[in-house]
Symmetry: C2
Amino acid sequence: MVNIEIIGYLAGIIVAMSLLPQIIKAWKTKSTKDISIVWTAIYMVGLSLWITYGIGISSYPLILTISIELAMASSLCILKLRYG
Amino acid sequence: MVNIEIIGYLAGIIVAMSLLPQIIKAWKTKSTKDISIVWTAIYMVGLSLWITYGIGISSYPLILTISIELAMASSLCILKLRYG
């Protein structure tokens, strides 16, 4: 039987890691003009609420992986602010 | 007392809606060259797993809002494939 927690961790890690090529692309091209700053900003607020929800329902996959995703989104936001 | 389910719905709706300005931006500018196709593809796989996890732990906020987010991500992926 597949442990549902494992699926949660997998989901979270995949979604968080999916931002990595985007960050690398922005870093390498030094171009982020097609990326919406509004998206990155609202995204970070939403992720913070997911972490709050994860704490509320005691879901470790949510808390841990969404924290990584939040760090990723923050990096992208910094790149956007830097390269415009 | 704040209902934790409400925080979950709020988190999910905010994260899903955060993609809207990005979709509108891509739609209006018809330019998506700074958006990573690898990100959108992996992102959709991860979101599908989140929905599976949501079903596993019977979390309606996860199931419903991540489904909306998946629809948003799919739209962005289609725009990326269209405009390159």
